[in-house]
Amino acid sequence: MSTLSVEEPEQAESRVHYLNVHYGVKSWLLTTDHKRIALLYLASITLFFLVGGSAAVLIRMNLLTPTGLLVEPATYNKLFSIHGIVMVFFFLIPSIPAVLGNFLVPLMIGARDLAFPKLNLLSWYVYIVGGLFTLYAVIAGGVDTGWTFYAPYSSTYSNTHVMAAALGVFITGFSSILTGLNFIVTIHKMRAPGMTWFRLPLFIWAMYATSVIFILGTPVIGITILLIALERAAHLGIFNPALGGDPLLFQHLFWFYSHPAVYIMILPAMGVESELITCFSKKRIFGYSFVAMSSLAIALLGFLVWAHHMFVAGVSMYAGMVFSILSYLVAVPSSVKVFNWTATLYKGSISYEAPMLYGMGFIGLFSMGGVTGMFLASLGMDVHVHDTYFVIAHFHYIMVGGAVMAYLGGIHFWWPKISGRMYPEGWARFSALIIFLGFNLTFFPQYILGYLGMPRRYPVYPPEFQVLNVMSTAGASILGVGYLIPLIYLIWSMRYGPVASSNPWGAKGLEWQAPSPPPTDNFEETPVVTAQAYDYPSREVEVA
């Protein structure tokens, strides 16, 4: 079945909307329209995705042979560092919040813009400045500390461009903070009449929870990175055991942000997932308030589990036990979400457009990543597989299988709203499928490699691991093609795609009441909300 509706073809051409209201570079670079800023972010994070992706390609190529196919070990260290730094700080963290969140938060709550539009534009510029520092670090010769910047290596011994990369991460943090602040104030104060807290789309709840982490977590990595920079510049000894400093303190401070940062990446993805599942099964979400509250629970519990990254780093046994138990607790709200999505599917009128394919892929891959996360939360198992490819596979299932799948699903789902055009459905389903297959072929072998003991971050490995590594590299090539296809057809569709109606999916939610693409002020008059979220007609009523 096809839902490509082309009802109002002449409308989008003649109507003034946010894309054609002004033309020219200046009208984009000085815009305060949240929708245009979302597109600025979309373009820039895509660029960084290509940078981080290229590093990943080289890493996988190098691992084709046990002795390292392409590069020197020192270069290999720089490749995985750049891959991690760029993908985490410059792609995944801003991906869904800064692109889809920026575009959708005002639309979904019935507002004309975010509360602070100039601050919103400033956050993009801050992001770009941070990005330039990091790109400089890459071009000037790279950085080899890994994305974790562990001291005292980063602060004392590494002779690569740690300073530029660290400053890049530090500066970009402020962009996250500004975005989070803007979202929190907007969601509190700008909701349309009748849009009560428990009528909010679940995407908004997810954005709210994410913003809380932005606000409370990001400043901590900021000050930590600043201390690293100070220590590097002046050899103060804050993290240097020779001068009385404690490297473990760095790890505590680093993970206090960087573990919640995992939830910055996955919570927005869960928000997108709730929208996809309800729309393409045409059903109310099962257990709305549980799904909403589980977002907040994940955000808060996420702040209490950081030391599970440090089980083998020298934390006490009792600390290990406490953090292990707390880590198990995070699984509860996460599984609440997974069970509620599956319960929503039950007896729904499910259709498999491309966004839903990504949505279904998300449930499976996120579950795999989540369950292996439980392995890692248990002390005994973690000692065995710590710093192996098991960990790599686990967090790629969450971050790529979860966050990137949802990001792509969301981009496809809201593409008609963003661009006013439909993407080619056949190509989209095809690429969704090969991304799913390519992803599993890339990362499932890594679970096995890790369990067998292959450590992460090594450019060489024993010959008996070659088959699994070749499988992984083959999968990565398929995955890479899968990412390039949407890049091409989405750009193509901006000009040549069929014109989209205001609500091509028959979805509920205020953003679908605005025209596609929306005018600068989003709604001609402020909408009044009278119904709950996902108010799809129930099938029981039809039968009766």
Partner: protein, 214 residues
């Protein structure tokens, strides 16, 4: 900062909504700031617990008198800031400008005294990393104490400098008659920021100057 002419900015329905948004915005920002300083306070606490004797020795090298005077200066500046906000609420433009300038004078005084303290530390070779060679015998981890002394006070001073810039902007805006009793969000917001920076010092003073009693 949103525009604060009599009309609300286009994204807001009315001035009341704009005022509430600005107020919530600044409080969320303060929450971020608390976590930013929080990282330093955590590091301080860890090393103070581990190397208490070094921290006591380092603390006793500070000038208690200057620190105490500075605390008083800063508390006075909070008072004048509060009075400035009150003048804005009641629409007294001249009084508003006067109190803003008083606040700036007190803030500059604080930074001046801080500069004198830093200069003394430099002469006594107490700058970690660059120039750390205190006279006589000192406990091995005293440099860590001075790391935190300088990191925390410098970050605080940076906030003061930013605050002074914001106050100067407020003086100019007030001079142009931008603030009315209905619409003066920037004064309220920067007032809250200024009080926050003062409160940070209220914690810094005992933590840095009064370790181990004096």
């Amino acid at each position: 900062m949103p525009e604060s002419h009599a009309m609300a900015a286009h994204q807001f329905d009315d001035l009341e909504q704009q005022r509430e948004a600005a107020s919530l915005g600044i409080w969320v920002f303060i929450a971020t700031e608390i976590m930013f300083f929080g990282g330093l306070f955590t590091g301080y606490t860890v090393y103070r617990t581990q190397y208490f004797a070094s921290f006591v020795a380092g603390s006793h090298l500070l000038d208690l008198k200057l620190g105490a005077v500075n605390t008083a200066v800063l508390i006075c500046s909070s008072l004048t800031m509060a009075l400035a906000v009150y003048a804005a609420q009641t629409g007294k433009r001249k009084l508003l400008i006067l109190f803003l300038i008083f606040t700036m004078i007190l803030g500059t005084g604080f930074l001046g005294i801080k500069f004198v303290e830093y200069a003394t530390k430099y002469h006594h070779h107490l700058i970690p990393g660059f120039n750390f060679a205190p006279e006589g015998v000192y406990p091995p981890q005293m440099q860590l104490y001075f790391c935190f002394y300088f990191a925390m006070t410098a970050l605080h001073a940076l906030h003061m400098i930013i605050g002074l810039g914001l106050l100067a902007a407020l003086v100019i805006m007030a001079g142009r008659g931008r603030f009315t009793p209905e619409s003066h969000n920037p004064v309220e917001a920067i007032g809250i920021y200024w009080h926050f920076v003062d409160i940070i010092w209220i914690f810094l003073f005992p933590l840095l100057y009064l370790v181990g009693g004096r």
